[in-house]
């Protein structure tokens, strides 16, 4: 363990911890745009600069390893001014169209602009322009809003292992893009959207659906597979408009394309909402109650078992079911039906 002081408060941290982690352990707020605890430190946005005794100049808390006896200051007039300049520079190359931005109210850059009271901008100048629109139905990229924090690139590499995007060009012209600046061609997991601190990345189907303040949140489990990722449904007037996932969940907030974007079936008109039964041979499938449907299945099972024996029946379970559901399913086949003919789709 090492001990250091931050704003004259003592803290002990394990070897290898960064100054930022130490500050967070003390619940000291240090602003940052490019840091994510699940990604490797980057040190690009420069907002988390702190002053450390005997260091010649401010250093970024996110990249500096904490060492024994360090004396760190996270707030000073100078640091305030420097951080304010950084945010001001970022805003000088940003559309500042918060009024129509889907991320308004959920945007770190906006919060910082508010905190530093940045209404005027001393540095108004050339801005980057991108007219490219993607054709994919999932991820919307508005790269003019990008602040080059590099989180999307790192999450795609370090977490997802897809490397669909990287930073191309350099300096003021640097931009995050797929190879040869083509349309995004990836798994569309949307992890990049989750980490984006601005409105540069969002879901195509999220647009114009409702701002964060009107949203009702419902925690649930993703129905798509047996992984059981925790998800949070965002709904406005009983309509799901977005899916997110909490960071402190089993899936650490990461989702796949289905879990994140595949929720539109909920409000589809042709979605099945009751069981269907064909009551007459050659007749149409008609809506039925669950009792009616289950009774029908039960009677048919009994009939087959009686006429042909239990081994004439077999059960095939689904990978979409949870462990518990699959356990109950095989128990039902072995103990109630009396056959070992039970299997699971994941084996095929």
């Amino acid at each position: 363990m090492i001990s250091l002081t931050i704003n004259e408060k003592d803290i002990r941290m394990p070897e290898g911890a960064t100054v930022l982690e130490a500050a967070q352990a003390l619940e000291i707020e240090v602003p940052t745009l490019c840091h994510d605890p699940q990604l490797k430190p980057y040190g690009g946005c420069r907002l988390c600069i702190v002053e450390i005794k005997d260091f010649p100049r401010p250093v970024t808390a996110c990249t500096t390893p904490a060492t024994d006896g360090m004396e760190v200051t996270t707030e000073s007039d100078r640091l305030y001014r420097l951080r304010r300049t950084i945010v001001e520079l970022l805003l000088s190359d940003h559309p500042n169209d918060c009024m129509v931005c889907a991320r308004a109210g959920d945007c770190t850059l906006q919060e910082l602009a508010y905190f530093y009271k940045l209404r005027e901008n001393r540095f108004i100048g050339e801005r980057r322009h991108y007219d490219m629109t993607d054709k994919n139905p999932f991820i919307k990229r508005e790269m003019e809003k990008c602040i080059l924090c590099g989180k999307c690139v790192r999450v795609c590499d370090e977490i997802q292992g897809v490397n669909a995007i990287d930073i191309a060009y350099r300096g003021f012209n640097a931009k995050v893009c797929p190879p040869y600046e083509k349309d995004l061609d990836c798994e569309f997991c949307g992890q990049c959207i989750v980490v984006c601190p601005t409105g540069a990345l969002s879901g195509v189907i999220w647009g114009g659906q409702g701002r964060q303040m009107d949203v009702k949140l419902t925690d649930t489990v993703c129905p798509y597979c047996g992984c059981g990722c925790n998800i949070t449904l965002h709904s406005v007037r009983d309509k799901v408009i977005r899916v997110t996932s909490p960071k402190d969940s089993i899936n650490q907030g990461w989702l796949c394309v289905k879990g994140r974007f595949g929720y539109e079936f909920i409000n589809q008109k042709d979605r099945l909402q009751t069981p269907l039964i064909r009551r007459r041979k050659g007749g149409k499938l008609e809506p039925a109650t669950w009792d009616e449907a289950l009774n029908l299945v039960m009677s048919r099972f009994e009939k087959i078992k009686k006429e042909h024996g239990p081994d004439a029946l077999a059960g095939l379970a689904s990978a979409r079911c949870t462990n518990e559901e699959n356990y109950a399913f095989q128990k039902f086949f072995r103990a109630v039906i009396g056959t070992n003919n039970v299997d699971h789709c994941a084996r095929y």
Binding site: N163, D166, A168, P179, Y180
Partner: protein
């Protein structure tokens, strides 16, 4: 004048053979992709998109990384270059000794399509370099590997004319 820019290099057998040699050296030396891309550029004169896809596929290095590197380093050319390469030194000394006037003249004379550095007829590609380190004879341009010192707008025009005459 006919169009001199070669068609995009198709991945014909000889191109693939070239790439395979480069790949073999790359994997034998456990080398980095920057060196591999330098070799590709040496072989083709620029870095054709197809060759990058081929190499990414073969090496398992993500395509996005290749593009990031290709656009980061000024040395790489993504498009075919002209028949003649004029490299203008934009170093400090060349600047104070009037390199911008030479550049102005070059641009006037060659009238590049907007945003491009190769003339429409593919005769000349103009490149700028930070410093060639030949400051004692500034301003300097390099015309097809030949360093020309103490250049003036006037004799720049003459040099271009020479290139044109040679091409006829």
């Amino acid at each position: 004048m006919t169009l001199l820019i070669p068609e995009k290099i198709k991945m014909d057998d000889s191109a693939i053979k070239t790439l395979e040699t480069i790949y073999a050296n790359y994997s034998a030396a456990n080398d980095n992709i920057i060196s591999a891309l330098q070799e590709i550029q040496k072989a083709f004169g620029f870095v054709p998109e197809e060759s990058v896809y081929w190499f990414a596929d073969k090496s398992g290095v993500p395509m996005s990384k290749f593009y990031g590197i290709l656009t980061f380093y000024a040395q790489f050319h993504l498009k075919p270059r002209g028949k003649n390469i004029i490299t203008a030194c934009c170093g400090t000394v060349c600047h104070v000794k009037g390199a911008h006037r030479v550049l102005f003249q070059l641009n006037e004379e060659l009238s590049f399509p907007p945003g491009e550095d190769t003339t429409r007829d593919g005769l000349v590609t103009l490149e700028k370099v930070a410093c060639l380190g030949a400051c004692s004879i500034a301003p300097v341009v390099v015309v097809n590997d030949k360093v020309c010192g103490r250049i003036t707008p006037d004799n720049m025009v003459k040099k271009i004319q020479k290139l044109r005459d040679k091409d006829k």
